[in-house]
């Protein structure tokens, strides 16, 4: 737990658990946990006190719902539930249209699929999962770019680089 966390320990536990359900680590592929997505989320909260308050409230809602979620373990915290139980609670909140949850979903996507320079997507694992090499730095790409431009006949007179136009 980072000492700079704007969330207190119980809230941090619940929000971390939620983030790890939003992008789970299934299919033997990294999820939010391996990408360190929570660091990005905490960074976003750090700038915005009103947001810290509303996300703390979201954590309290999650924990309150968790109390009765597992008949065998009454009084459980959200972070201690099974993934399926956590999903059920998150789905209920989503159906209710919780704006805090939709903020958290968006921030989680940013912290998994966004540029690693902002603290999430550690080692580019989010990009690797989908097949995105990231920015090209000083170089670029040459055609063909994808299967369709490699295989569909081009307009008359245009070669594969598109620019061999005989009229010029």
């Amino acid at each position: 737990m980072s000492p700079a966390s704007p969330l207190g320990p119980p809230a941090l536990a619940a929000i971390s658990a939620a983030v790890e359900r939003i992008i789970p680590s299934d299919d033997n592929l990294p999820g939010a946990r391996e990408a360190g997505t929570i660091n990005f989320v905490l960074g976003e909260l750090g700038d915005a006190p009103a947001r810290v308050a509303s996300i703390t409230e979201l954590a309290m809602t999650l924990d309150a719902a968790a109390v009765t979620a597992d008949p065998l373990r009454p009084g459980c915290a959200f972070a201690a539930l099974t993934g399926e139980q956590q999903d059920t609670i998150l789905l209920t909140l989503e159906t209710e249209g919780s704006p805090e949850l939709s903020w958290l979903v968006e921030a989680t996507m940013e912290g998994f699929y966004g540029d690693p320079r902002h603290g999430g997507n550690a080692n580019g694992v989010g990009w690797e999962a989908i097949g995105f090499p990231g920015p090209t730095g000083g170089s670029g790409y040459e055609p063909p770019f994808g299967w369709y431009d490699a295989n569909e006949p081009n307009l008359p007179g245009l070669g594969p680089d598109g620019t061999t136009d005989p009229t010029r």
Partner: protein
């Protein structure tokens, strides 16, 4: 910028005032998070705006998601990060009233200028910015004196898919004319197909940002000065002569200045130009400057509320490479009343660039989060494209920009309030074109197509019409030379002067018209350097 540079070249001393920063190529970082946080745009905190559908409903603040796509705040304006589709409007686009007759609920009019008057300026603009295209391969091209200066840029898979679907339906796919260099040109190097195109500044200068095209030529004259971080608060009118004395602006230290000038040209974009005129009200012009017609802000147009259509394909599209839109079809552009609406538009399937966060929020996944979403991200990223549909919107006098009575910006000035409901014709057009896009993408072999349908448009990146051009001073704000009817030395050169919207992206027309206006100013003011 085109007008400023042309005038500097003709011997005028010109000061350009821009509220945003002056960025250069190395500032254009390819980072989706920064783009989402407003690297090149004003945030809702810096520049709030409000919207309401009609006068009967209270206005609400626009959300970041709407605002982000809608305007720029940087030297060069939105050309810094536009998609650079560089269309000429068609002959009929300048005479919509004559072509179509009056339409209930719309304030149709003909432009006071026609295509023939614009053609030489389109030609100049295409050569100055370096447009890549092919008239030979574009069967619906309006008359033009010569070919595009550069051949088309390489086709991407989104373009190849458009070709495939359009051919299957018997249509005529063609290159999209682009202000992106297919070859080295005028000291700039060709596009490297890096992705991160639309919404990002080009780190190589291959896109026709005015900071790459016009600005260097203006600076080379020694007569053009750009003052960045300078927010113009009002145009100051001399009550004795009725002429504009100059403009007041706040610099980045917060100091207020008066910049005097013989001529004032507004090019603040389709929302800020009318707002500035309304914020320039004075005892002599109580309803806003140049507003004796009462039309400043009215007839505001945002193009038809086009759907975005998403499609997933079995083979790799790899839309993170290259520029966005490379092929389209113009077969459906002309009016065909059997479709149930007048006017038309075009479909431009696009590579998505380097934006996986954007994909994560798109309506093509079975769930918004969780394992199903994660799997869907993996299955779609390399295989999907989206298609924009751009179409004409009819002018409606009640659609307008005015001043919000409550919300103020960081300088304490009333912000722009947008009142906008698309004309029925626009909605029918958008619905039909979305269907056409679905048809083309399915004919091209898409495994899945999602049509998000026409949207409620509050604000968008094409903002036109709010200081209409016309010959009749009671029915328009500026004359055929884009000079305010009421203020003899005040000009507007952005898309606010458009009388109708056409179904095509506006920028080449803005630039060609600005060159036309600048030539007129130079011709009628004699030689200012002598």
């Amino acid at each position: 910028m085109p007008a400023a540079v042309r005038l500097a070249e003709k011997g005028f001393r010109v000061v350009v005032l821009e509220r945003g920063p002056w960025m250069s190529r190395r500032d254009f970082i390819e980072d989706e998070i920064l783009a989402r946080r407003g690297l090149l745009w004003p945030t809702v905190e810096e520049e709030p705006r409000t919207w309401r559908p009609t006068d009967a409903v209270p206005a609400v603040r626009l959300a970041t998601s709407v605002q982000l796509f809608s305007n720029a705040m940087v030297v060069g304006g939105s050309t810094v990060h536009y998609s650079a589709l560089a269309w000429r409007f068609r002959e009929s686009d300048f005479r919509v009233l004559s072509e179509e007759g009056a339409v209930a609920g719309a304030s149709l009019a003909d432009w006071p200028i026609d295509y023939a008057e614009m053609e030489p300026y389109y030609d100049q603009a295409e050569r100055l910015i370096g447009v890549s295209g092919s008239a030979a391969l574009s069967p619906f091209e309006p008359p033009r004196q010569r070919e595009y200066p550069l051949p088309p840029v390489p086709r991407n898979s989104a373009g190849a898919i458009l070709e495939r679907g359009a051919r299957a339906l018997g249509l005529h796919p063609q290159p999209v004319p682009l202000g992106i260099l297919s070859r080295d040109y005028d000291g700039r190097s060709r596009c490297m197909a890096k992705g991160f195109c639309s919404s990002y500044g080009c780190p190589n200068g291959a896109r026709a940002s005015t900071t790459e095209t016009f600005l260097p030529k203006g600076l080379a004259t020694g007569r053009l000065e750009v003052r960045a971080n300078s927010f113009v608060t009002r145009v100051v009118q001399d009550p004795a002569t009725g002429r504009a004395r100059g403009v007041e602006y706040v610099d980045d230290s917060g100091a207020l200045h008066l910049q005097e000038g013989d001529i004032v040209i507004l090019a603040a974009g389709g929302v800020e130009t009318p707002r500035l005129l309304l914020n320039s009200a004075s005892a002599a012009a109580p309803d806003g400057l140049a507003n004796s017609s009462g039309l400043v802000g009215r007839n505001f147009m945002l193009h038809s509320p086009g759907a975005t259509v998403y499609a997933v394909f079995p083979e790799a599209v790899d839309g993170h490479k290259g520029t966005e839109a490379t092929r389209t079809e113009m077969d459906d552009y002309a009016t065909d009343t059997s479709r149930g609406f007048i006017r038309g538009g075009f479909i431009h399937p696009r590579a998505h660039g380097g934006e996986p966060v954007e994909l994560a929020g798109r309506p093509m996944h079975p769930a918004k989060w969780g394992l199903a979403h994660k799997r869907s991200m993996r299955e779609t990223w390399r295989h999907y494209l989206f298609s924009h549909v751009t179409g004409e919107s009819l002018p409606v006098e009640a659609n307008r920009v005015d001043l919000d009575p409550q919300v103020k910006d960081r300088f304490g000035l009333p912000v722009a309030r947008i009142t906008y409901t698309a004309h029925d014709n626009d909605v029918r057009l958008a619905t039909w074109f979305a269907g056409r896009a679905v048809e083309i993408l399915e004919a091209a072999g898409a495994s899945r197509v999602v049509n998000n349908g026409p949207v409620i448009r509050k604000l968008h990146n094409h903002q036109m019409g709010a200081t209409r051009m016309g010959n009749d001073a009671s029915r328009s704000v500026v004359d055929r030379w884009c000079r305010a009817h009421d203020v003899p030395n005040l000009y507007v050169t952005d898309s606010s002067v458009f009388v109708t919207s056409a179904g095509l992206n506006p920028s080449l027309t803005i630039q060609a018209n600005a060159l036309r206006v600048a030539d007129r100013i130079a011709a009628t003011r004699g030689d200012p350097a002598s």
